[in-house]
């Protein structure tokens, strides 16, 4: 079943064409990677799905419904969570609070009930805590539960951001460079987690990533973008050896590589 699909989306910034008639289809339960050199339009694609940007033409559909009429804040509620390339956490709050903010879409209590902290609100809060605790267990964040984000090392923040995305209870997560800036060990852990969240939680993953080892190790299909156009879509081995992909990454000297 097709979960996420873009139909010939084009985005222009002034005179620059960031995306040109990009079509992609992400199947439910797959790990889908998007690769491409800097400026290829990978993050733009994510920002379209998050509704931070409007496409000039084309359509984006999630579970068969168009997203274009939705405001950015409605996307999480539909089951799409994301992380950011330059971590965007709530710096002056604890890890726990950050993850709890991820539960925002499943809140029920009315404003007066919250002001009075009625028993129903307490029950709801405890339910949120339980859900968050599962994420903490899964990502092994226990030692950092009460720590402020501002004092955490980079690698941990990356994991917390993944945790916040998971706390929303998504069907699809968009991971923007999940391994950038991570050490080799951290990257390996991240790879395991990404695979686990598909295998154990049934969450579909779309990720933008530069680390080709990680991409080929865990992804089912890869889409290569270059200058806003789709170069090729297919299994990692195919994409990695595609001459246009190689030249886009390494410049025009494909003879030696072949």
């Amino acid at each position: 079943m097709t979960l996420l699909e873009t139909e010939a989306v084009t985005v222009r910034f002034g005179g620059v064409v960031a995306l040109h008639e990009v079509c992609l289809q992400v199947q439910s339960g797959e790990i889908f990677a998007i690769v491409g050199p800097n400026g290829a339009g990978k993050s733009t694609l994510f920002n379209l799905v998050s509704r931070f940007l409007d496409p000039d033409t084309g359509d984006i559909r999630f579970e068969g419904r168009s997203l274009l009429a939705q405001p950015p804040s409605a996307i999480a509620g539909l089951g799409i969570a994301r992380t950011f390339q330059n971590i965007e956490l709530f710096d002056h709050a604890s890890v726990l609070q950050n993850l709890l903010i991820g539960r925002h879409t499943s809140r029920r209590a009315s404003l007066p009930a919250q002001l009075l902290f009625l028993p129903s609100v307490r029950r709801e809060e405890i339910a949120h805590r339980e859900a968050v605790e599962q994420v903490i267990d899964f990502l092994e964040l226990q030692p950092y539960r009460e720590r402020m984000i501002a004092g955490l090392p980079y690698g941990i923040r990356k994991v917390v951001e993944l945790g916040r995305a998971l706390a929303t209870g998504p069907k699809l997560v968009l991971l923007d460079e999940p391994a950038s800036g991570l050490s080799v060990e951290e990257t390996r852990d991240m790879g395991f987690w990404i695979r686990d969240l598909r295998d154990r939680m049934g969450i579909t993953v779309v990720m933008v990533e530069h680390d080709m080892n990680l991409v080929s190790a865990i992804s089912d299909r890869v889409l290569a973008l270059s200058e806003g156009r789709v170069v090729v879509t297919g299994p990692p081995e195919l994409v990695q050896s595609h001459p246009e992909v190689v030249s886009a990454y390494l410049g025009d000297a494909p003879e030696a590589v072949k």
Binding site: A76, L89, F90, H104, L116, F117
Partner: protein, 360 residues
């Protein structure tokens, strides 16, 4: 150092962390309730003023400290609450409890109305817009003479709750308890909010609007709620202020009042309920401290000394303790708890470089 072992989620959620914590705040409240039996009428008046400042401070803290929306115009909402309360009682003959409640609600609704255009403004620009709002308020009060009495101003009638006459001069203890009661209720509501989803949404839009949206938080609704609640509380503080001053005109609610309110919560420590209270206590203590020194040294009054001392305090806090008095006290507490194992660099601030805010 005591370590709290956690066995239930409720331990993070409940009002007080443990029994000792509850006892501490309980005894503090008891002390505050018993204050009228210890202080003379003048000092009790000062204490009342501290409590009213604390309510106003909590109103602004909610907006600025937690939701991250800086307002340099909260005197406008103090004025609104003050005038609406007095007008409802004077001209419409409403009983005090109803007029008081409505004063807060109307201020809150006006706050929501301000939030809608304010959605488009960030940081500095919001501060400027609210500054203009505060400047306008003074003139509007003068121009709206049929309602506000213009430059002559209004007098607030004596409040009465269920036959109990709360005269600010004849029964200062009753008036103090009234203010304290409101302050305690506001504090509880504030605390409840902070452990609920909406309070977390405030923190989220303060720290990163973009990822708050990605987490499903609507900026418009959350900001409107922050403005609404903040202005409601500020309106209540204004209504009490009206009764406290007895008579008032536009000169009470100047831009200076707005600025003082903001500076007060900065001194107290942004982002905590404690901060609003500490700030109010400092504001209340400065004139007393000056009086003490003046009596001891025997000099004449120097105009503007209070504001200036207050400003010097602000400068020192911003430079040396950006987290305000609350931050400083928390650090001392940690230091004592860990003694003698506290390292110097534990509280070191990270060096920050400013990237232009022209891009956001």
């Amino acid at each position: 150092m005591r370590f709290r072992f956690k066995e239930h989620y409720d331990q993070d959620i409940r009002l007080f962390a443990d029994l000792a914590d509850g006892l501490r705040y309980g005894s503090l409240l008891l002390g505050a309730v018993l204050l009228p039996f210890v202080l003379d009428d003048f000092l009790l008046g000062e204490a009342t003023s501290v409590v009213i400042w604390a309510i106003a401070g909590m109103g602004l803290m909610l907006l600025t400290g937690h939701a991250g929306q800086v307002s340099l115009g909260h005197a406008a909402f103090l004025a609104l609450g003050c005038y609406v309360n007095a007008i409802l009682m004077n001209s419409f003959g409403l009983p005090f409890p109803l007029a008081f409640l409505l004063a807060g609600v109307i201020s809150g609704l006006c706050g929501v109305a301000v939030a809608i255009p304010a959605l488009r403004l960030h940081g500095l620009y919001l501060a400027i817009a609210t500054l203009a709002l505060s400047m306008l308020t003074e003139d509007i009060i003068v121009l709206a003479e049929p309602w506000t009495g213009g430059v002559i101003g209004l007098t607030a009638p004596t409040p009465e709750i269920a036959g109990l006459v709360i005269d600010r001069y004849a029964a200062p203890d009753l008036f103090y308890w009234l203010c304290l009661g409101v302050a305690v209720l506001v504090t509880l509501g504030y605390r409840n909010l902070l452990r609920s989803p909406l309070g977390r949404a405030f923190i989220a839009i303060r720290d990163s609007e973009i990822s708050a949206q990605a987490a499903g938080i609507s900026l418009a609704r959350t900001k409107a709620a922050a403005f609404g609640l903040s202005c409601m509380v500020t309106g209540w503080a204004g209504a009490l202020m009206g009764h406290f001053f007895y008579s008032f005109n536009h000169e009470v609610f100047t831009i200076i009042l707005s600025i003082q309110l903001l500076l007060m919560i900065v001194i107290g420590g942004l982002g905590s309920i404690h901060g609003a209270w500490y700030g109010a206590v400092i504001v209340g203590l400065i004139p007393q401290a000056i009086n003490l020194v003046r009596d001891a040294v025997g000099t004449v009054a120097v105009p503007g000394l209070e504001t200036s001392l207050f400003s010097v305090l602000i400068v020192l806090f911003v430079l040396y303790e950006p987290h305000g008095l609350h931050g400083r006290l928390t650090k001392w507490k940690v230091w004592l708890d860990l003694f003698p194992f506290c390292r110097r660099d534990m509280f070191r601030r990270q060096k920050s470089y400013l990237r232009t805010e022209r891009f956001r």
